[in-house]
Structure formats: C-alpha cells, structure tokens
Symmetry: C2
Subunit: 190 residues, 2 copies
DNA sequence: ACGACTGATTTCAGTCGCTGTCATCACTAG
DNA sequence: CTAGTGATGACAGCGACTGAAATCAGTCGT
C-alpha cells in the first residue's frame, strides 16, 4: 500500500488539458482539475504556480534544445548558420508522434487570451535566452536580439503550420522551408 | 456644480501609473487606484477590463500608425520597403517629449511579469494586424507573417534602445538604424 | 414647474484565483 | 518505539473581477 498515488504532477497536467479542452479554460476551476484526480485545490497550487502554468511544463527542456542547437554550430559560424542549427535541434524536439497532442494543446491555448499571454511570455524568455547564447558567441547587439527573435519567429510560424490540418511534413522540414522563405524575403537567397 | 468630475478614465490612468510606479503593481489594489481619484473599485472595472489594461490604452492608435505606414508604401513596394514605411510611421508616434513618460511606463511593465505578458499580447496582435495588411497587399504566407514579426521585433529593439539611459537619438533614427542592422545580419546589406 | 428619463456611479453579494499556516498521515531511519 | 520526513488536507483570508439593483444630479418634454 502506498501513501499517495504517484505521479500527481503528471496526472494534474493530463487532467487539466482534458478539462480545459472539454469545458474551456475559464469554465474549469483549479479545484475541478485537482478533484478530478483525487487531490485538493491546494495541492494543485503546490505543483503549479498558477492555473495556466500547468500547460507549460516542458519549457525548460524545450529551451535547452534551442541552446544546444546554438552550441552545436561551428565556432565561427555566421548568425544565420547558428540560427539554422538552433532550429534544427528545436524542431527535432517535436517528433510526429507528438502532433496530435500538440494540436489539442494549441487549440486550448488559442481559445484563451490568458493562455496566449503565457505562451508569448515563454517564447519571449526563450528568445532572450537565445540572444544571450548568441552574445556569448561574440555577436553584438542589436544583432543578437534580432537573430534570436527571428529564430523564435521562424519556429513559431513553422509550428503553426505543422499542426495545421492536412499538413504532413515533419516540423524540421517545415522549419527549414520557413527559414528559406525568410532568406527570400530579405533578398539574401542563394 | 457637476455630477462627477470629468475625465474619470484619464484620471484613473494617471493614478494607476503613479501608484504602480511608487508601490509596485502587485502592492497596489484596483481599489487603491480608484479611491485615489475619488471613485470606487467597481467604476475602475467599468473603464478597464482588468487591472493591467489601464496601462495599455492608446494601443489602437499605435496599431493604426503601423497600418498607415503599410498603406503609405508604394503599390509595388517590396516587403522590406513596406516594413520600412511602417516603421517610419510607427516610430513617429513617439516624439521625444514622450520619452520620460515612456521610460516610467516601461519601468513599471518590466518590473512585473503579468504586465509583460499583456504587452507581449498587444505586440502579437499588432504583428497579426500588420501581417493581415501585408497579405492585403498581395504578400503570401509565410512571408507576410515573417515580415510583420520582423517589423514588430525591429520596433521593439529600437524602442528599448530609445528609452535606455543616455540615449539621445530620436526613435525614428534608432529604428532606421536597427533595420539596417537586420539587413547586415541577413547579408542583404547594400 | 413637474415627472419621466438618462447615464455615470455606488452598493452589495458572490465566485474564483491564489496564499499562509497548521494539522494529518503513512511510512522510514535510528 | 520514537523522532522525523514529505506529500497532502483543512481552513481562513485577500484581492481580482462580475452581475444586479439602487442612487443621484442633471436634462428633456410637456
């Protein structure tokens, strides 16, 4: 016999996504989520800082994928090549198996401004982290910030395409394509 | 004698910035702001959807400045030229006289994640509006989204520089410079 | 002049997000 | 057998926000 069912955190995350998707984010109270997995509201807030945060957990590993990509670029690589490497690593973070889950999660987020705000904050923090890594590599401002935000923007555009209905290409493929489009846009295409 | 002091909205905005700056956003209740100008909490929430929104009022006119800039670009202008025009119009929205006020407001926002979230949502909406305008002009996806986000990113980087201590150049000048840096970055500099 | 009307505001009650504090409770180390 | 230990529960409380009804000074039509 165990004291408590293990995996409280994961159960809360799964239940939250489920309920937010079924009833809507605002129509679901934190107590609803907690009770649906046999816990109390107080315990919910012990695991997650707030009601939104429960949907944004793997963020650290996601951010690390970007930073690993930056680190993987050759030492003297150009900013654009470094961004390319970061995008390759980051997009590999979402294999095709995760697509259905990503779709559902994104549908929930898109349906609620409060959740969009949180997602934007995470992406902004991500861009800031990438910018810092680029500065570490010798890039100066404002290029570091510009390159970092471009990187995150390309990822965002690619990600939205990846979860669009009918889309079948992998995220890395789409991201590469979007980055190429950015090159076209800036007139630096080969 | 008047029924109520006029300009309730403006008084609330001024008082909110004042109190948020003095005590901090979280240490200031909506009731504090309202009572400091002789109104009740309920009235505060009749003017502003929430406690954060009181700091984000001129957003519509700001967004319109971008859209006017897009519209001002010549019909067959390239994406980059259109973005340049949008930046020119938008940055003219902040004459040097507004710098002290912008500084104070930005300091308040930077000190609070919740306010940063709101600002990011506004900027994302702005990027979406610009992307729509670019599509109207015949640009296709993903170029429209990429160009719009680049435009907003350049503005954001320039704006941060504009309110940095010691900076004396005007926002339009800085924005032009940052856009040039983006050209350098993408290898499309003249 | 008088009553109906208007519109901004107040009052009040209530829900929900979130927090601090302390008690529980099952198990574990000594 | 006793003293932790760590996750959880129970409870009280604050502040953000909302809906509904009351107030109240001026305005308008007659």
């Amino acid at each position: 016999m165990v004291r408590w069912e293990p995996g409280a955190r994961e159960r809360l995350q799964a239940a939250a996504l489920e309920l937010y998707a079924a009833r809507g984010f605002e129509q679901t109270t934190a107590a609803d989520v907690a009770e649906s997995v046999g816990l109390t509201e107080r315990t919910f807030f012990r695991y997650f800082a707030d009601k939104r945060e429960v949907l944004f957990d793997g963020q650290d590993r996601f951010e690390q994928a970007f930073l690993d990509g930056v680190a993987a670029a050759a030492d003297g690589a150009s900013a654009i090549d470094t961004v390319t490497a970061a995008l390759r690593h980051a997009s590999a973070f979402f294999p095709d198996e995760r697509r259905p889950w990503s779709r559902q999660r994104q549908a929930v987020i898109s349906a609620n401004p409060g959740l969009q705000e949180r997602e934007l904050l995470k992406m902004a923090a991500l861009a800031e982290a990438v910018a810092g890594a680029l500065r570490e590599r010798g890039l100066v401002e404002p290029q570091a910030s510009l390159a970092a935000h471009a990187c995150v923007t390309v990822f965002g555009v690619a990600f939205r395409q990846w979860i669009a209905v009918g889309e079948e290409r992998s995220l890395p493929d789409i991201a590469r394509g979007v980055l190429d489009e950015l090159r076209v846009l800036t007139g630096s295409a080969p």
